[in-house]
């Protein structure tokens, strides 16, 4: 299948992230190391068909965040992002 058809957005991985973080992560902002753009996670591109989840920059396609689960342990790493910034947890 073509790559474009597999492209979702950060909203599609909100449940997985919400199982790890105490606040909604679609409004968290992430800074791309490739092009410098800063966007909410919900606005970035997500690919969920790989063995794991890849969040890519919606401007330059660099891999911002990768999540895998092996033997019951979750690993999150940040190949091409400077930072991930989130607000205080709220009840919304």
């Amino acid at each position: 299948m073509e790559g474009e058809a597999l492209r979702l957005d950060g909203n599609a991985i909100a449940g997985t992230l919400g199982g790890m973080f105490v606040q909604d992560m679609t409004e968290a902002r992430i800074a791309c190391k490739g092009c410098g753009n800063v966007e909410p996670v919900g606005a970035e591109h997500a690919y969920v068909q790989a063995p794991g989840i890849v969040l890519r920059c919606s401007h330059c396609d660099e891999a911002l965040l990768v999540m895998t689960r092996t033997a019951g342990r979750h690993r999150i790493w940040f190949p091409r992002s400077h930072w991930l910034e989130m607000g205080e947890p709220t009840d919304s």
Binding site: M1, R7, L8, D24, T26, P89
Partner: protein, 250 residues
Amino acid sequence: MARAAVRGRLNWTLGEVVELIDETPRVRTIFLEVPEWPGHRAGQHVDVRLTAEDGYQAQRSYSIASAPEDGRLAITVERLPDGEVSEYLVGELRRGDKLELRGPIGGYFVWEARSDGPLLLVAGGSGIVPLMCMLRHRRASDGTVGARLLYSSRSWDEVIYRDELERLAAGSNGPEVIHTLTRSQPPGWKGYARRVDGAMLAEAAWATASMPMTFVCGPTSFVESVAGGLVLLGYPSNTVKTERFGPTGG
């Protein structure tokens, strides 16, 4: 600060199916009573997890269809070819069954009735679901900001929530509802009969000077073409929020 107000991590909870409504031949709305539901905002979704007798689990994310003001939680599910979860939810699920749920999820693709600016909603197929939640929320809270829905379906029979959209549009302060039917049209159809394109967006969209807030939901190619078209019309990209439905649902 009230510590109890902090939601904490998402956890799974149980909901009971209390009603099922067939919206179209391939689309069904499932109403659920969820005792531990903490409430939601318009545009959020919920994860549904099914567990087979042998322990195999499959989970999918569905947009919430019911307004935050409604007493019951509703999701609307389209049956996808070979969709192991949607086949079950649309074909097999019965009243009284229990579903494992986790939510509400998301905060980016969310609209509050008290927000400023007119609202532009653009839906492709079952991408209407979170946008219908926003229109129901607007109605339930007597929202008065202008609202316009451009909704692309393949045929008149595949228009989800067709009657309710007509009622909403006819009500006072109702939204403008503009349909386009891409594959077949009923006799005498005077509306749009093609895919959403730049010319259609130019006719349907609010003037950029009115600072509209825009939500686009549908299949990936639809969402990207509409969002690109709106940016060409001068909509700032950070005012156009998108949610893609991929083929990974099912």
